[in-house]
Amino acid sequence: MYYLETKDIVKQYAEHLALNGVSIAVPQGSVFGLLGPNGAGKTTLIRIITRIIAPDSGVILVNGRPFSGQDVYRIGYLPEERGLYKKMKVGDQVMYLAQLRGMSRKNAQTELTKWFRQFNITNWYNRKVEELSKGMQQKVQFIATVIHNPELIILDEPFSGFDPLNADIIKNEILRLKNEGKTVLLSTHDMESVEELCDNIALINQSKVVLHGNVFEIRNAYRQHVLRFRLFSDDFEMENESFTVLSKEKKHEYIDVRIQKKVEMENTELIKLILNTYPVISFEEELPTMREVFVSAVTSQSIKDN
């Protein structure tokens, strides 16, 4: 079941095609990563999903239905370019934003108290935003994004400007929201957090989706068939036409070997083959990191286009 689907979204600015038939599908109750280099069209897509701008063509489905005006209240959006009224008190500000999203005053007050307690910032209520540090402001912004209990939470570069400690708080909040059955759409350049958090991703490059799907499957698809063995031996001298040795590293009484195998050879066959000669302590297949996937997908497309 997809919570959010975009189908063939096209958006043309004056002399620049921002989105060229972009389709993504975000499953309910998952964290979805929207990746891509700067200027690829991520923010434009997010602005279309949040109904800030209208697409030239294409449809957006929420829960399988076409998107309607009331659906904006079910979205919590933290934009990349984000801020708060500097002269306004923190509490008043969150109340205002919550009410703008259709909450009653009373309801907003209860939720606000709950969230302020959870983030341990109850004493900030009467402070002006300009008195807060950037990290503190980000926390307030995050609360303002989720206070109305949205079903879909869209976070555009949520970790930029956070120290690792506060970034972890937000990461935990994202996972908690996911466990509550919420759907999270995350746009980020931080590839480590994609591996940590995302179930699925879409990679947008030059206004098109170039990669779409489950994170594990994508990494699998991009694997280079490299296996890492730790063997109880002084050296590794096996030679076979079905694999090549990439590197050897002797450590104490064991040796670490990286082997690239032929695609048609099964992993189990290779292990058996080695196990016949050397005692294997451990082995694992090296999956490419999301960073490597990102770089290779983006560069291969640029090569294709040129």
């Binding site: 600015y13 004056a14 800030i52 030239d56 934009p79 801020g83 009224y85 999203r101 303002a144 994004t145």
Partner: protein, 440 residues
């Protein structure tokens, strides 16, 4: 509460609760009244020191004419005493030296008033008046001495000159019932200028406030958070209405304060009497005006009509200019970049202000007439003309054009606003801004 109501409420209450707003709103009428009354009051206080003026008359004809007053004492010295003896003492023992070196009926420029400080206007006028009268008499004497004219005519001429020919035109206005009533074109002018100035200042400052508010939301980057849950057009309308209400609140408080303050001051005898007497002192050529006449003149002005039109034109002009200012605020990233776009608007408003100002001279002239239909100038110019009384169709047409154009401009502005608030980075050109209006 719906979102539009919330936005209006926030824009309104965040401004009226500001300390600067409260202080300014309360002290402005006090300051205004002080500016009007203090000079008036000060002018009634007489200079305690009597100024001494030395008259050195080489001819001996003019010196006896100078009569000392409460303010000035003329000390006549013979021509034997040259000015050289007196100049070193100038500024210490006397205020000024009046030197007459020749017969002024033949050489009128041979009179000098030497002083250290600037000579008061009243003293100069007094001296000129005394001398002119004497010279006139001198010339008449010569004429009668020549024998060509008979003595009786000379006597008549003397009489005419002495009694003076002070003509003062009372202006009357004809109302619909055919009754005439006293009006004062001066009062109409003052009322017109006051309202024009007020509307000009309000358009400028409250329009500017809208621009600041738009710019602030853009600069603080809160705008994208807002437009994800609120339609941009609602955000714009909320801002314009909220700030407009702040303006109306300020006007209302000022009207209330000014009204009650003038009433209080009017009752105080020290002000009402002094005001009447001092206006006589200040301008001798003007007929003495007493308070009851002023009150009567005030009543000839249709205040209800003026205030009603003021509100109508204020709202129309404010929405028109606020839409334009909002458009500018949305198009740029920072204060500096507003300058380029502000310039033409400021020039138009200034032109409107001057057009209004010069319309006082000729409230039905072509400048005043045409400017009261151009929507960018009509709110300012019309406020000058209305106290003078103009045909109803002009007023109605002007209002229709103004409101029609603010609808068109605010729709265009909303389109620009919607796109502009999300654009960061380089300053757009006017061509690019116009393209934005076409975005879906």
């Amino acid at each position: 509460m719906n979102t539009l109501g919330l936005i209006i409420q926030r824009e309104y209450s965040s401004r009226v609760t500001k300390k600067t707003f409260i202080l300014f709103t309360i002290f402005m009428p006090v300051l205004f009244l002080a500016l009007a009354f203090v000079p008036l009051w000060l002018s009634t206080i007489k200079d305690s020191e009597i100024k001494k003026i030395v008259v050195i008359d080489h001819t001996g004809i003019y010196a006896p004419e100078f009569k000392s007053t409460d303010d000035y004492r003329f000390e006549i010295v013979g021509k034997a005493d040259e000015s050289a003896n007196y100049t070193p003492r100038l500024g210490k023992d006397f205020f000024a030296i009046l030197q007459i070196t020749d017969d002024l009926s033949k050489k009128p420029q041979n009179v000098f008033l030497i002083s250290e400080k600037q000579v008061p206007m009243s003293l100069l006028k007094n001296i000129e008046k005394v001398l002119s009268e004497k010279v006139t008499r001198q010339k008449l004497d010569e004429l009668s001495a020549s024998g060509n004219v008979d003595a009786q005519t000379i006597v008549k001429v003397r009489h005419i000159i002495e009694s003076g020919a002070n003509v003062s035109v009372s202006t009357l206005r004809l109302n619909k019932e055919g009754e005439t009533f006293a009006s004062s074109s001066m009062l109409s002018s003052i009322v017109g200028i006051a309202f024009t100035l007020l509307i000009y200042i309000f358009l400028m400052s409250y329009g500017g406030m809208v621009m600041q508010a738009v710019l602030e939301e853009k600069r603080s980057r809160i705008v994208e958070v807002l437009v994800s849950s609120v339609k941009p057009v609602n955000l714009l309308i909320g801002k314009i209405v909220g700030i407009g209400l702040v303006g109306l609140t300020q006007l209302f408080i000022w009207a209330l304060l000014l009204g009650s303050l003038t009433m209080v001051l009017g009752i105080l005898p020290v002000f009402s009497n002094d005001a009447a007497t001092s206006s006589q002192l200040m301008n001798n050529s003007m007929q003495p005006v007493n308070m009851s006449e002023i009150v009567a003149m005030f009543q000839t002005i249709n205040w209800l009509e003026i205030i009603l039109y003021f509100i109508v034109f204020f709202i129309g002009g404010y929405v028109l200019y606020a839409s334009i200012f909002a458009m500018i605020g949305a198009s740029v990233d920072n204060e500096q970049d507003t300058q380029q776009f502000m310039m033409p608007i400021t020039i138009i408003l200034l032109f409107a202000f001057y057009a209004g100002f010069y319309s006082i001279e000729n409230p039905d002239g072509p400048l005043a007439f045409w400017c009261s239909f151009i929507p960018f100038t009509s709110p300012v110019v019309m406020m000058v003309r209305i106290p003078f009384g103009i045909p109803a169709w002009e007023k109605i047409l002007s209002v229709i054009i103004l409101y029609g154009s603010f609808v068109v401009i605010s729709i265009f502005s909303a389109k620009i606003y919607r796109v502009g608030i999300l654009m960061y980075g380089k300053k757009p050109t006017v061509k690019e801004i116009i393209k934005w209006a076409k975005y879906k």
